[in-house]
């Protein structure tokens, strides 16, 4: 029996699901491997019977929590897909302000009281609400990694997600270090697995696959000094995908 897979989207651009839709001819291999029973971007059918739930997006409202908990109950395996789901991602930028301020900024003085669609709280990653079995990191996800993780799960093997930073892949690609070019890159503290796609193409890493571990402050200061960069610059970079209240 092929495992039944359903995709669900919460607050997100659905770009990670688009990455999967963009597997093109390989999508045929995917549907040979698993039964896709729900995938809004490519099919209209939907089923509540699934083994694997793939969740894209962040959790923003009580109604999301309710829906997510139901999905968790139905699914044997739950996978968080993409930065919004795995770490909260850019949706967490708004956590810098109280939710009602954000609402007022966007919607003005319209009375949204009691409307569940606008009843937003501070953004949460999926694992802040339910247990996540596997993570497919990135903004957007890396298709090769998606394939590797899905084949691993079907083979019954725990997918190996890098626990080392992007620098490792950046070096293997023989890139010029972006710090040498005067740019602030989050590669040294961000989980690898993207094959250093941004630095390889000249853009500093923004940390979309999540910060592995905050380096010791002695280390950070040393680097900022050596490359004449500021602490504020670093902090604002980290906010893009990895905003966390306790750090501010």
């Amino acid at each position: 029996m092929k495992p039944r897979v359903a995709f669900f989207d919460f607050s997100s651009c659905e770009g990670c699901q688009l990455q999967i839709a963009n597997l093109e001819e390989e999508i045929l291999d995917l549907i040979n491997l698993v039964d896709v029973v729900s995938f809004r971007e490519v099919m209209k059918e939907h089923s509540e019977k699934y083994d694997i739930a793939i969740i894209e997006g962040s959790i923003m409202r009580p109604m999301d929590v309710e829906r997510l908990k139901k999905i968790r109950k139905n699914a044997k395996i739950l996978i968080a897909l993409g930065a919004c789901a795995t770490i909260g991602g850019i949706n967490k930028i708004r956590n810098q302000w109280p939710p009602h301020n954000v609402k007022r900024e966007v919607y003005g003085d319209i009375d949204l009281e009691g409307n569940p669609y606008f009843d937003a709280f501070q953004t949460k990653a999926v694992d802040e609400v339910v247990k996540v079995d596997y993570y497919i990191h990135g903004c957007p996800i890396n298709r090769d990694e998606f394939k590797r993780i899905i084949t691993s799960i079907v083979l019954g093997k725990n997918p190996e997600i890098p626990t080392y930073p992007v620098c490792v892949e950046c070096k293997k690609n023989e890139n010029i270090c972006l710090f040498e070019l005067g740019k602030f890159c989050l590669g040294p503290i961000t989980r690898a697995g993207c094959n250093a796609i941004c630095p390889t193409n000249g853009s500093p890493c923004e940390g979309c696959r999540g910060i592995l571990k905050k380096p010791q402050i002695e280390c950070v200061m040393e680097i900022l000094k050596r490359y004449e960069l500021t602490y504020d610059e670093m902090k604002s970079r980290c906010k893009m995908y990895n905003y966390a209240k306790e750090e501010c």
Partner: protein, 646 residues
């Protein structure tokens, strides 16, 4: 001068024609130093104009052509039972512009990869590559190659270029190099005045070095040996990002990880290896999740000891060529060996430099290809406990495995990977052999799902087994804790075999595990009771209510006072310990209380044995490779190793 001691002169214009001839011949992939914005890289040349022989240093060393960052090893097909195919790169290649320090680094790699157990992938690439070296014209600002004596070389190249203005002098290093010149270049004999200019070029480069070490490289090992616990390791490692950029750009770092990947159609798969770095936390992580070099200090320190002490004592060279790449790549700038060694030079040194390696040479038999497993079949499967199962395996060629008690095999499941498992059956049980497997990681979990008759792959046997000769005529105490009973069972069955029994004296088995439901082979131990001069004591740390356990209760060390032991026999007693890391310290103390000499105590240690042949670097305990010199060690060999029994 090289052994050929032959030099030729080539005009720069003719040299360009030579390079273009090589490219246009289509016989080789021609690699050379090219620009990458402000830096330089080795890359495929399309024409001679791209060559930048005035470069200072490349981002990555030419190592990438011998041990690529990602290298496919084996192709397999999960749907067909066809034989896995070795993906050896046979492309002839020429690398132009390799600096002397990188040539020295390649020679060092050769010693590691082409030693008694040759790496066939590396060897093929190496055999098919022609190295055209280049004397340094511009010194990289982080380089200290002059201090390392690697700024010039007399060998290790096929041809070596020295820029003397409008011409190059070509020093011919090998027959291969000479043939290349004869076939593709237009050269003439060098005049003496031109040859003298070689030294002028080299000397003027040597004058550019700003960075120097305070101590000779021969002395590094002595300073490192005296300062393992120096606070400088902690101070410096506090600034470490643990990104392993230092090892990634290093021309003499050669550790790799092996992984399997399967296509979405679940049919074609590939086993590949990729650079790994000892600064990364999971480098020493084993299937059960244990990490042996857990602290940042230990990982940071390991790199310097490996470069300056471990490899030097093993192979005779300091595994740093002074290229300065790590200093450039390390963002907090703590990776530069020149700085570290200069800081160390203010402390003491010791002549006792080889204390982190095992002095006795162990023989590893040469075997064919190193990464292709032999086909084998699961003949029997027996559940031992809720988490351990015994697998009986037979090689498909029906030949005995030919192992010694204490050795291990790499169990390979295509698509999933490989895991080291110790052999639990005695050599006499041929042609089959048994493995006791605990379900902990990917490979073992997958193995549990396989049925009798299913195919797996086996590499090995690997490592150093028990020194059975040293046990003859002696009393033996076996101390097995938890899964440690698995490798010891092989030895116990061997010595208690009727054919061998009389060669050993009094036998005592002490076996402990946490709870009764974890105990294995109790029936076998009971069956041994009728032997003469045999004692067996079993214990559990704890027996939950309602479970049945008719033996002792208490930690394994509580069994020692319960055995008859005459201290006058200490010198004629051999003790063997195998168990989880925590056990050794306590059991060894108990054994020392019995006055058993260190050289009579044997331990079997677990580490991440990935390649099994002393290359990938994961199983190292200080300078010792567990996969080659272990997993069985005499206690006196490892007791001084800081990383062994911590």
């Amino acid at each position: 001068m090289s052994k050929y001691n032959e030099v030729k002169t080539i005009l720069k214009n003719d040299f360009n024609i030579f390079v273009d001839n090589l490219i246009n011949s289509g016989e080789f992939e021609v690699i050379g130093v090219k620009s990458k914005s402000e830096r330089f890289i080795f890359d495929k040349l399309e024409n001679s104009n791209q060559l930048r022989l005035y470069y200072d240093v490349t981002i990555l060393p030419p190592k990438k052509y011998f041990l690529p960052p990602v290298e496919m090893l084996i192709n397999f097909d999960l749907k067909k039972s066809s034989k896995p195919k070795e993906l050896i790169d046979k492309k002839p290649r020429i690398i132009i512009g390799v600096h002397p320090y990188d040539i020295v680094a390649i020679e060092q790699m050769d010693k590691v990869y082409l030693d008694s157990q040759k790496d066939d992938f590396y060897k093929k690439r190496r055999d098919n590559t022609i190295i055209i070296g280049s004397d340094i014209q511009n010194v990289s600002k982080r380089s200290f190659a002059l201090s390392m004596g690697t700024n010039v070389v007399e060998s290790g190249f096929d041809l070596l270029l020295t820029d003397i203005g409008n011409k190059y002098i070509i020093t011919i290093g090998t027959k291969k190099g000479k043939n290349l010149i004869d076939q593709f270049a237009s050269v003439r004999e060098s005049k003496n005045s031109e040859i003298r200019k070689i030294y002028k070029t080299r000397n003027s480069a040597a004058l550019q070095y700003k960075r120097k070490t305070n101590i000779q490289k021969e002395e590094w090992s002595k300073y490192l040996a005296a300062n393992f616990d120096n606070t400088l390791w902690e101070e410096r490692s506090n600034k470490c990002l643990e990104c392993s950029s230092c090892t990634m750009v290093c021309p003499t770092c050669y550790c790799y990880d092996v992984q399997d990947s399967v296509s979405l159609n679940m049919s074609e798969g590939v086993r590949y290896r990729t650079w790994d770095g000892c600064l990364l936390r999971d480098f020493t992580k084993i299937g059960s999740g244990e990490i042996f070099r857990e602290s940042k200090i230990s990982r940071y320190r390991h790199r310097f000891y490996r470069k300056g002490n471990y490899l030097r004592e093993r192979y005779g060279f300091v595994a740093c060529v002074g290229c300065g790449r790590c200093g450039t790549a390390c963002l907090p700038d703590i990776a530069d060996p020149c700085e570290v060694i200069n800081e160390l030079s203010q402390f003491d040194k010791t002549e006792d430099t080889n204390k982190y390696i095992i002095k006795e040479k162990t023989k590893t038999p040469e075997k064919g290809t190193i990464h292709i497993p032999q086909n084998a079949t699961i003949k029997q499967k027996k559940e031992l406990t809720y988490r351990e199962t015994l697998f009986e395996i037979e090689l498909d060629n029906k030949k005995p495995l030919g192992h010694k008690p204490g050795q291990f095999v790499e169990v390979s499941i295509f698509g999933t990977g490989e895991a080291p498992i110790s052999i639990s059956s005695p050599p006499s049980d041929k042609p089959v052999f048994q493995l006791v497997v605990r379900k902990v990681g990917n490979v073992t979990s997958k193995l549990f799902t396989l049925k009798v008759g299913d195919k797996i792959g086996i590499r090995g046997p690997f490592g150093n087994g028990f020194d059975i000769k040293a046990m003859e005529g002696k009393d033996i105490i076996f101390v097995c804790a938890g899964l440690g009973v698995a490798p010891l069972r092989s030895l116990i069955k061997h010595v208690t075999n009727n054919k061998n029994r009389k060669r050993f004296k009094d036998l005592k088995i002490l076996y402990g595990c946490r709870e009764p439901n974890e105990a294995m082979f109790l029936d076998e131990f009971d069956g041994l009771k009728m032997l003469d001069d045999f004692t067996c004591k079993l214990t559990v740390d704890n027996c939950p209510k309602g479970e049945c356990w008719e033996y002792d209760i208490g930690l394994i060390t509580t069994l020692f006072p319960k055995i008859d032991f005459e201290k006058k026999k200490s010198k004629d007693t051999v003790a063997i310990i195998c168990g989880p890391p925590i056990v050794y310290k306590f059991v060894i103390k108990s054994l020392k209380d019995l006055n058993i000499p260190d050289k009579n105590i044997f331990v079997s240690l677990e580490r991440r044995m990935k390649c099994g042949v002393g290359k990938c670097g994961h199983c190292q305990i200080n300078g010792v490779y567990v996969c080659k010199e272990g997993p069985v060690f005499r206690y006196d060999q490892v007791k001084e190793l800081p990383e062994a029994l911590e």
